[in-house]
């Protein structure tokens, strides 16, 4: 008997080992390659990404409709993405449970334990993450339905009335917890009755009864019928397209897997018993031998596992969106003030993926690393890529690629304006973001600081008290509340003090140009370095070299030793324009810059009107220079 036991346990052990290796790789892939932190940081402006607040009031709202409990848990779990290792653990756990329940259900319905097919739902669950979408709610809804299906098939209830009662109780539970995912529960329970127990009447009755549950739910919870039937199903408009595709595939795959295995088994029996020709029986015995080899021999196990991992890796590699990851990293680094890594990422970004939001971040990073006037033309630039002004904002949004980005764009502009010292404009843009996506933690933080800086301490407290309920940023809010108790002005907060010293005090209504906004900031605080550099960059971008020349000597006030590269280039361009007239600056221009300009002019003269030819000759040496921007760039058309 021990021998028999060991032959039985070895395949189990191998299966367990394979699953363990699979989910270990799964975890590492999610943690180190995808990085859930990026989903948290960059999806927060997506209206679909849930926010989560501690406290009864928030939870109660979710209990009031079918599917609410799953959405509540999903909202909680999504906050854990903030910690990438933990987020990866959560995603892996959900995927593992999906696999486990698929295995249980397939075994119950077909009588065959699937060797690798039960891992397919985990791969399906991972696919949206490879595109940086968030299928957590859809995944949890499906999981809840599948777990309840497992309970249904495993409960040893045979008497029909009792079985009906169990089905209905579990169905009601599935509906309340997971909304429309009830469909999956019903399909699996009916499949079990039809295929495994061959109770055709029950199977059909279950489907008919379950169809009425959402209808009753619509009346009981006073929700629209469409909501009652479709919430958390693949057809739910609230799900992202990636999550919807995942859910659709899962809803089709799990029942088909279970039913397919059952029919496969019956077909195998039929063929084995003599229902097939001799040739077929020979082929069948060969297939059986192959299956035995794969299942029982160590070499077979290795082959089977290798094939499985390869098959699983292919869609993940094909679907993985590296460009999106770079964009998200840029955004994430900007939020965290990691300016040098941001610039590194920006250099890897293909030109066609640059948009205003990237340019704002890149220019901020250049400013923070002291390179704005030296290296800004190493990156694509547009006149509106420096910082947005509220009036231009609506048409600008049209150029964003995704709907969700509009909220991100509003918030990025709020960040930029906040940093410059345009407090009221930043407040306006933050409120616009709030209206688009609701009161998210970053919005509350920003408004709290703005209101403290403006002396509206009570309003700041309201925002901080709301933020206190956030899992991730709650401690920050509690700390600020404590400090506000001690000092309502938060005078020891460097950010607030910087803002106070920079913010415009003289009120004016209406719309201002970028130049006016920056000049107002410099009039308020002539040491506002960011405003100064942005003003100079603005003059460069708009080719206003006359105004640029008037301000160039202010570099001394900001402690510049050497003249920044682009400033020197602008100075020689200005000098070339004005000819022999006197120059309004004292700074010298390096000989190297003058020589480069001379060479540049020679090539231009050589090519005359043939701009593209000139550019092809110059591109190697002048790619990072201001000269080509000034000469080749059409004033109105953004360079892409």
């Amino acid at each position: 008997m021990p021998t028999v036991h060991s032959t039985l346990s070895r395949p189990k052990l191998r299966r367990f080992l394979r699953s363990a290796v699979f989910f270990l790789l799964f975890y590492l892939y999610v943690w180190l390659w995808i990085d859930p932190g990026l989903i948290y940081h960059s999806n927060w402006t997506a209206p679909r990404f849930p926010c989560f607040w501690l406290g009864r009031a928030f939870a109660v709202g979710f209990l009031a409709y079918p599917g609410g409990p799953v959405e509540y848990v999903s909202a909680f779990l999504c906050q854990l993405y903030y910690y990438p290792w933990l987020g990866a653990g959560v995603i892996t756990l959900v995927a593992a449970l999906l696999s486990l329940s698929t295995g249980v259900l397939a075994t119950a319905v077909s009588g065959i334990r699937p060797r690798v097919l039960h891992l397919v739902p985990a791969v399906l669950f991972l696919l949206p993450y490879a595109k940086y979408a968030n299928p957590m709610a859809a995944g949890l809804a499906a999981l809840a339905a599948m777990l309840l299906s497992c309970a249904y098939v495993l409960l040893p209830v045979r008497r029909p009335p009792l079985r009906l009662a169990v089905f209905l109780v579990l169905a009601a539970g599935a509906y309340y917890v997971a909304g429309g995912a009830l469909l999956l529960y019903v399909v699996l329970a009916a499949a079990f009755e039809l295929v495994s127990r061959r109770q055709y009447l029950y199977g059909l009755l279950w489907v008919a009864l379950a169809a009425a549950i959402p209808y009753a739910g619509a009346h009981a919870f006073r929700i629209p019928l469409s909501d009652a039937y479709l919430r958390l199903l693949p057809f739910d408009a609230r799900l992202s397209s990636q999550a919807a595709v995942f859910a659709a595939l899962l809803y089709v795959f799990v029942p088909l897997c279970a039913i397919g295995l059952a029919f496969g088994r019956r077909m195998g029996r039929f063929l084995a018993v003599g229902g097939a020709s001799r040739e077929r029986r020979t082929a069948l015995s060969r297939a059986a031998a192959l299956v035995r080899f794969l299942a029982e021999r160590p070499a077979g196990w290795v082959v089977q596992s290798a094939v499985l991992f390869a098959v699983a890796a292919v869609p993940l590699l094909l679907r993985f969106d590296a460009g999106t990851r770079t964009l998200l990293r840029i955004d994430c680094y900007a939020q965290q003030g990691m300016w040098r890594p941001l610039l590194q990422e920006a250099t890897c970004l293909p030109l066609h993926r640059y948009g205003p939001e990237v340019e704002w971040d890149v220019n901020r990073a250049l400013y923070h690393t002291g390179q704005l006037l030296d290296r800004m033309f190493c990156y694509p630039q547009d006149t509106w890529g420096l910082f947005p002004i509220p009036r231009e904002f609506s048409p600008l949004l049209a150029s964003f690629r995704q709907e969700e980005l509009s909220a991100a764009a509003y918030m990025k502009s709020a960040d930029l304006l906040f940093e410059l010292g345009r407090v009221n404009e930043s407040e306006l843009m933050t409120h616009e973001t709030w209206e688009l996506i609701g009161p998210r933690p970053r919005i509350l933080k920003r408004l709290a600081l703005i209101n403290v800086a403006k002396g509206r301490t009570e309003a700041a407290r309201v925002f901080l008290r709301a933020l206190r309920k956030d899992l991730v940023h709650g401690e920050w809010a509690r700390d600020r509340l404590r400090r506000l108790e001690a000092d309502p002005r938060l005078a020891d907060d460097a950010e607030v003090e910087r803002l106070r010293s920079a913010m415009v005090l003289e009120d004016a209504g209406g719309h201002f140009s970028r130049e006016e906004m920056l000049l107002q900031l410099l009039a308020r605080d002539r040491h506002n370095r960011m405003a100064f550099e942005y003003l100079m960059a603005h003059y460069l971008l708009t080719r206003q070299l006359g105004k640029f020349a008037l301000h160039i000597d202010r570099l001394d006030e900001f402690g510049y030793g050497e003249t920044p590269c682009h400033c020197e280039e602008a100075m020689v361009l200005y000098a070339a324009h004005v000819g022999g007239q006197s120059r309004p600056w004292r700074r010298p221009v390096s000989r190297d810059t003058a020589l480069r300009f001379r060479r540049f002019l020679q090539v231009l003269a050589q090519c005359r009107d043939r701009k593209s030819e000139a550019w092809s000759m110059l591109v190697a040496d002048y790619r990072d220079s201001y000269f080509p921007y000034y000469v080749f760039r059409e004033p109105e058309e953004p360079q892409r």
Binding site: N424, E435, L436, E458, G509
Partner: protein, 535 residues
């Protein structure tokens, strides 16, 4: 099993006894010595010395005194005492007990005696807080707009109703059902919820802009724009006989301040008044209420229907201006005017200045007359006609009998505006930003017969910390006698699917007498609404 029964029963009994002992020992007994504190405690919201109606929901509050246990005795006399104990500073009085208390205290004072146990275990007793309970009830419902402090974009807003006698709160109209249209300025006929108008402005989905009228269960949507009136109705007032609406049409421009505390501001580049006759579905406007050189807005009828009060200011910019500077907007100050109205003949009379901006030194807006016609409550701010964005906005009372006006003592140094009278004229609700200068909350004030206004109180909530982190603003609170009888789904269905009923322009200065169609020679043949109103 039998062997287990005895120990189980014993354990249960021990647990019960322990719980009983704990309860008895931990509760402050009457005999325990208290250290008296010679002042009332600080509580949030501050209800001390406020006057409350006898039908208000329980006042919940937080004791802002440090301690580990709290005990509050609420009483009006020594016969009716309600005792509330709490391990947190949040004090919630049970509804039934509260109802009993209010019944006993009607017309008298109600006291809250607060005891706090300090960390060292000693109890402190504070001086009682007194709250006066008025004899007169307040209208039991408040209809209000609930929204974020929106700036330019709007997506989510609701018109809601709150039962003031308990904490029930429900949606009247959710703009999510209307493609995120802006829903605003709900107006009722004499606090009657069955006769209401709501203004709609198109949102992400275009269901048009105009006025939705709910008239005794019938919902219609009316476009009051005509050849001469290019903008939809904004501020509306029902004539007391229910046959006529006065409304303003405003060309509104929003602008933003670069350095003020409040970023937002609004100016009316143009505005006029007009009348809409329900029976004939016609609109009329007369020179004296639609002068090109004046900005007329905020119409309100006197309770007897003989006068139309409104605000009016000279236009300080060119007539075709599309934008104005802040300096110009700062100069606009509105007078309070009125014009006679002969309901029998349907004619407007002479124009009079009731209170000029010069007299008061401020700009007047939002006039609302008490149901008895004695007092006119209005808002006055430094400039303009949109006080909600100005911290200088305060409430003033004009005695229409004596002609005297005064600034109310209940004002804060922040914005107080958007007031609405209760049907009996003893109460009004108003929106105030006194708590945080950003988000408006509804406060209720009692008005004595001589017009004295007593200290207001904040709308009570089931959770006393409700407002601490509330990120919404209460806008346009209106008191009504009962809940709105039409569901939001019905209203939304009409807005989504029914065509707009276009009002006819009546080219005469006379409005048809109530209940009659316009004269044929004045406005052509009588016209009924072109589309049957939907229920």
């Amino acid at each position: 099993m039998k062997r287990l029964r005895l120990p189980a029963v014993g354990a249960l009994a021990a647990l019960l006894i322990a719980a009983l002992c704990y309860g008895l020992l931990s509760r402050p007994a009457e005999t325990v010595d208290y250290e008296p504190v010679g002042r009332p405690p600080r509580i949030r919201p501050d209800y001390a010395d406020a006057v409350i109606p006898p039908n208000i929901a329980p006042l919940t509050f937080c004791v802002e005194e440090p301690g580990k246990k709290y005990w509050v005795r609420a009483y009006s006399d020594q016969q009716t005492v309600v005792s509330v104990r709490s391990r947190t500073p949040a004090i919630v009085i049970p509804r039934r007990a509260w109802r009993r208390l209010l019944t006993r205290a009607r017309g008298r004072n109600l006291f809250f005696e607060v005891h706090v146990q300090a960390a060292d275990g000693r109890w402190r007793r504070f001086e009682p807080i007194a709250v006066a309970v008025a004899r007169e009830k307040i209208d039991p419902y408040m209809v209000y707009r609930f929204m974020n402090p929106i700036h330019r974009l709007w997506l989510h807003m609701e018109i809601r109703q709150r039962n003031l006698e308990n904490y029930d709160d429900s949606v009247v109209l959710d703009n999510g059902l209307l493609g995120n249209s802006c829903v605003n300025c709900h107006t009722f006929l004499q606090n009657r919820p069955d006769r209401m108008t709501i203004q709609i402005r198109r949102g992400q989905q275009d269901y048009g802009s105009g006025m939705v009228m709910v008239d005794r269960g019938v919902v219609t949507k009316v476009d009051t724009r005509t050849q001469l009136i290019s903008t939809p109705a904004v501020y509306v007032s029902w004539h007391p006989d229910g046959t006529l609406l006065a409304f303003s049409t405003n060309k509104v421009r929003q602008f933003f301040h670069s350095a003020r505390r409040e970023v937002r501001d609004v100016v009316d580049l143009e505005s006029d008044l007009a009348l809409y006759v329900l029976g004939s579905n016609s609109v009329t406007s007369k020179g004296s209420i639609a002068r090109p050189d004046r900005l007329e807005t905020w119409p309100t009828w006197s309770p007897d229907g003989r006068y139309l009060y409104f605000c009016s200011a000279p236009v300080p910019w060119p007539l075709d201006a599309d934008d104005v500077s802040v300096e110009r907007a700062d100069q606009v100050r509105y007078d309070l005017m009125r014009i006679g109205y002969d309901a029998g003949a349907g004619r407007l009379g002479e124009l009079e200045t009731v209170l000029s901006a010069e007299q008061i030194g401020l700009s007047i807006s939002q006039p609302r007359i008490s149901p008895d016609g004695r007092f006119l409550l209005f808002c006055a701010s430094r400039y303009g006609c949109f006080p909600i964005f100005q911290s200088s906005a305060d409430l003033y009372m004009l005695d229409l009998k004596t002609g005297r006006h005064r600034r109310l003592a209940i004002n804060s140094d922040r914005c107080d505006s958007w007031h609405s009278w209760s049907g009996n004229g003893r109460w009004f609700v108003f929106s105030s930003k006194r708590r945080d200068d950003l988000l408006a909350k509804p406060y209720f004030a009692y008005v004595e017969e001589d017009g004295t206004v007593r200290k207001p109180f904040l709308l009570p909530q089931a959770d006393p910390t409700f407002y601490d982190s509330l990120l919404k603003t209460y806008n346009v609170p209106e008191l009504v006698r009962a809940p709105v009888p039409v569901s939001g789904e019905t209203v939304a269905h009409v807005i989504r699917s029914e065509p707009w009923v276009e009002a006819d322009l009546q080219v005469t200065s006379a409005t048809p007498p109530p209940g009659s169609a316009p004269a044929a020679e004045d406005a052509g043949s009588p016209s009924e609404p072109r589309n049957a109103p939907a229920r």
